[in-house]
Symmetry: C2
Subunit: 77 residues, 2 copies
């Protein structure tokens, strides 16, 4: 199985969801990307269909928006 | 690891998320409950903090609302 990508922006909702997802999916199966810090990956997240964070893009390209921390517009600031 | 519970109501968003979650978490690690059909488990889902479906309650009791299919009020009808 190729990796999922979990995008977040450091918000409390994001951190909580990150812990849960890593526990459920396994640390080795998910790449965690903080687009609040690694800003040159915001565009990649948007292209994948991420509308808000936290969100996970599955190996098949589906986007799972998990709870709601902040919109991509908020992350862009 | 004890099981997560994935609550859904048969909506297209639910079915899509169900496939993704089962793929990611493993079929044996998640109980899938259609509260549109098994209506006597709606109350249990609400008590766990589920506000909308699809949603997953983790073994530690956290609720992950995954995308948005329908509110619990919609499911109650």
């Amino acid at each position: 199985m190729s990796k999922s990508i979990f995008y977040h922006a450091g918000c409390p909702v994001c951190i909580s969801a990150e812990h849960d997802i890593i526990e459920l999916v396994g640390k080795n199966n998910v790449e965690v990307v903080n687009i609040g810090e690694i800003r040159n990956r915001i565009e990649e997240a948007e292209k994948a269909g991420v509308k808000s964070v936290p969100a996970m893009v599955t190996p098949t390209g589906n986007v799972l928006h998990i709870n709601y921390g902040a919109s991509i517009a908020d992350v862009k600031g």
